[in-house]
């Protein structure tokens, strides 16, 4: 085979691959498109004409969205509010406290530090079902059952991975920079906030992304811990709509599902680079 032929074959191969990938890509988007078209469809047609574009009598306009706002006797915006609050507060809490702890563990390295560190590593392999019953009882007896206090539970149950990743990174930071700060008269607190923290930024982003994805989508922990009549996160609310209260309205449910995935997709498109890097980092280390 001459070089010309190889190149042509190569180009043909790439074209075929391109086409195949494009087709798969379209198939990949179809489920989301199905949600979109059904969120504008009258409930009774969602089952019978799932894949039809809503026209004529199928077209519900924004009725599903309007109904969805108060569907199931619970304002949808409340669950959005609580989901955002819990995700932001938990992530902030985890980032701040676990990075501090990780620095302490890596630098002091006492017996107690090692105990905590290995317990954290151990906690990463413990499935939630192992502790779900007792954790929800403990959280309840300590009044951690509100969106304002549940971040403490997340800090506790989610500390493992974060500590593990931060310790790994801190160990790779040369000691000299911190020593220099300390010679300049910085106490540990100032050293941490003005010297260590800025260096941790890449890991912070990775850990932050992983925690956001976990907390935002988590169903069982908040369901068991929160007082669910007052506080429902989005996953809890959607599960509740499907499993209760008279007739299930699939159209309205799809409208809410659409509303709940749009912000996620926007967030993803904006922070795509970080998200993909964070996921890769978390997986490789975990």
């Amino acid at each position: 085979m001459n070089k010309q032929g190889t190149l042509a074959a190569e180009r043909r191969r790439k074209t075929i691959m391109s086409v195949v990938l494009a087709v798969i890509c379209i198939i990949y988007v179809l489920p989301v498109l199905t949600v979109v078209i059904n969120s504008f469809k009258v409930n009774t047609f969602v089952k019978t004409d799932t894949f039809a574009v809503p026209t004529g009598e199928m077209w519900a306009g924004f009725a599903n969205f309007i109904k969805g706002m108060t569907f199931g006797n619970y304002p949808f915006w409340n669950s959005v509010k609580y989901s955002v609050l819990i995700t932001v507060a938990s992530t902030a809490l985890i980032l701040l406290f676990t990075s501090m702890a990780a620095w302490y563990i890596a630098r002091v390295n006492s017996f107690f530090c090692k105990v905590i560190y290995y317990l954290c590593v151990f906690s990463m392999v413990v499935p939630f079902q192992m502790v779900m019953f007792t954790l929800s009882k403990t959280a309840d007896s300590l009044h951690l059952n509100t969106p304002w206090t549940i971040p403490i539970v997340y800090l506790g149950f989610g500390a493992g991975l974060a500590i593990f990743m931060f310790v790994g990174f801190v160990k790779s930071i040369p000691l000299e920079i911190e020593e220099a700060a300390s010679i300049d008269g910085c106490g540990p607190v100032r050293t941490y906030f003005s010297v260590v923290l800025p260096m941790l930024k890449p890991t912070m982003i990775s850990v932050g992304i992983l925690e956001i994805m976990w907390v935002w989508n988590d169903y069982l922990l908040p369901y068991l811990v929160l007082d669910i009549n007052e506080y429902r996160t989005i996953p809890i609310h959607i599960q509740y709509l499907k499993g209760s209260y008279g007739t299930v309205d699939l159209g309205a449910t799809m409208a809410l599902i659409l509303l709940s995935i749009i912000p996620v997709i926007i967030f993803y498109l904006i922070c795509q680079k970080h998200i993909i890097k964070g996921v890769a980092a978390g997986a490789v280390k975990g």
């Binding site: 409930n43 009774t44 701040l96 209760s244 209260y245 007739t247 299930v248």
Partner: protein, 423 residues
């Protein structure tokens, strides 16, 4: 960074506040309600009461099919429900030890009948009825007439079958069908696994001379009758039986908009249904049992209040006051009556519920009342879930083999769940 620290500090403060707030104890009410239909009214009553007296009332409604699950998890919490529901003898067995003895309490003295009360083995009054209800087949008389039939034909299974099959056969021409959809998703399946199943239990119970506690096993003697009515219902409806498993059909709406003449449900639907079909009425579960011309509606209750004995005395007192208020305050008891139908209390207003009126009329004409033997279902959520699964398979393929599975789930499943609950 300052912002993050500030946020963290705020969180810690909120946490501390939340912890201290619970220390104050002047008595509060936490009502764990198990009737989703009542939720809205219950929330309204709670805020009315708080406004009037300043006593905090929290109402939590368990999603349908999850009451026992919610109760189990709530009871173990530090702020456990003060007012909850023990609806049947199985409940008494499981939760009776946590219920206060209500004998001669103010709320018990307001009752006008002892018929719906539940006692434990030691004779303690653990739970008292707060309303009674009835279920059967809701009928739209206008549609029956429009199809050229008369309500007088609906006096036994043969009559019902003839009318339903005729309507179904001419559905296209008439513009409506016989039965509304009998969805098997969790929002609807209880109408069949809980209610329609009662006809089998009831006749079995009647043969046994009445049940006083959950029988360890069933004979299944009336399974054929259950099949009669069930088959009629799924095969003469708006929806292809194979399509019922995941639900999504709005049976109530089908009935209200005049697309279906029959709707299997209960008296709590009256308020919703009568808006659209003012003369809607209810007929018994006709299923081909000897002498069923004398049948009445299924009347009873699983709405019985119990007070949690493990909460503070102040909370118990507050709960008791709240209960008495619900059945004595003119405005509150009117709301209760509108929502629930008939309340067995001395001071509550007359009911306007047409279905309960039908139940009374049947009873007044000497028809037998089919009591709620369904309340004895052991491990009710598990038992019904198995039955739903078997009915799903049967709906999709109405073979004898699949009906055998329904029978197994219905009859043998009872014994298995009885063992699990009591063994």
């Amino acid at each position: 960074m300052k912002k993050i620290i500030a946020l963290a500090l705020t969180l810690i403060m909120v946490f501390a506040l939340a912890a201290s707030a619970s220390a104050a104890d002047s008595g509060s009410v936490y009502w764990l309600n198990f009737k989703p239909e009542l939720d809205e009214a219950a929330q309204q009553l709670a805020s009315m009461y708080t406004e009037e007296t300043g006593v905090p009332v929290k109402v939590v409604t368990a999603a349908s099919g999850t009451y026992s699950q919610t109760l189990t998890s709530e009871m173990d919490k530090s702020s456990a429900p003060t007012l909850f529901v023990i609806g049947n003898q199985a409940g008494v067995k499981e939760w009776g030890e946590f219920a206060m003895d209500l004998t001669d309490t103010p709320i018990a003295n307001e009752l006008n009948t002892d018929a719906y009360n539940l006692y434990d083995e030691d004779g303690r009054l653990v739970s008292i009825g707060y309303c009674f209800e009835c279920y059967g087949i809701i009928v739209n008389p206008d549609l029956i007439e429009a199809a050229g039939h008369s309500m007088d034909e609906l006096v036994n299974f043969e009559g019902l079958k003839a009318v339903a099959e005729d309507i179904h056969a001419r559905a296209d021409e008439l513009g409506f069908d016989a039965f509304s959809s009998s969805d098997m998703d969790s929002s609807s399946s209880w109408r069949f696994t809980g209610h329609m199943a009662n006809l089998e239990y009831y006749y079995e119970e009647r043969d046994a001379g009445g049940w006083t506690e959950c029988p360890p096993e069933l004979t299944g003697a009336y399974m054929e009758n259950f099949k009669n009515l069930y088959d009629l219902c799924i095969n003469n409806s708006l929806t292809d039986p194979a399509d019922l498993a995941t639900g999504g059909h709005d049976a109530e709406n089908e009935f209200k908009t005049g697309k279906a003449a029959f709707f299997v449900n209960g008296s709590w639907e009256y308020a919703a249904v009568s808006e659209a079909v003012p003369n809607a009425t209810m007929i018994p579960y006709y299923c081909g049992v000897e002498g069923e011309e004398k049948a009445g509606l299924n009347c009873g209750t699983e709405n019985c209040w119990a007070i949690n004995d493990t909460v503070s005395d102040a909370d118990k007192q507050a709960t008791m006051d709240f209960m008495v208020w619900l059945v004595t305050d003119p405005e509150a008891s009117q709301i209760m009556v509108d929502q629930l139908g008939v309340l067995p209390y001395k001071q509550v207003p007359e009911s306007t519920n047409g279905f309960l009126a039908a139940a009374n009329e049947y009873a007044a004409n000497g028809h037998y009342v089919m009591d709620w033997a369904t309340n004895y279902q052991p491990n009710v959520d598990d038992y019904r879930a198995a039955l739903v699964s078997a009915l799903n398979a049967y709906n999709a393929d109405q073979s004898d083999a699949n009906w055998e599975l329904v029978k197994t789930a219905f009859v043998d499943g009872w014994a298995v769940q009885y063992q699990a609950a009591n063994g």
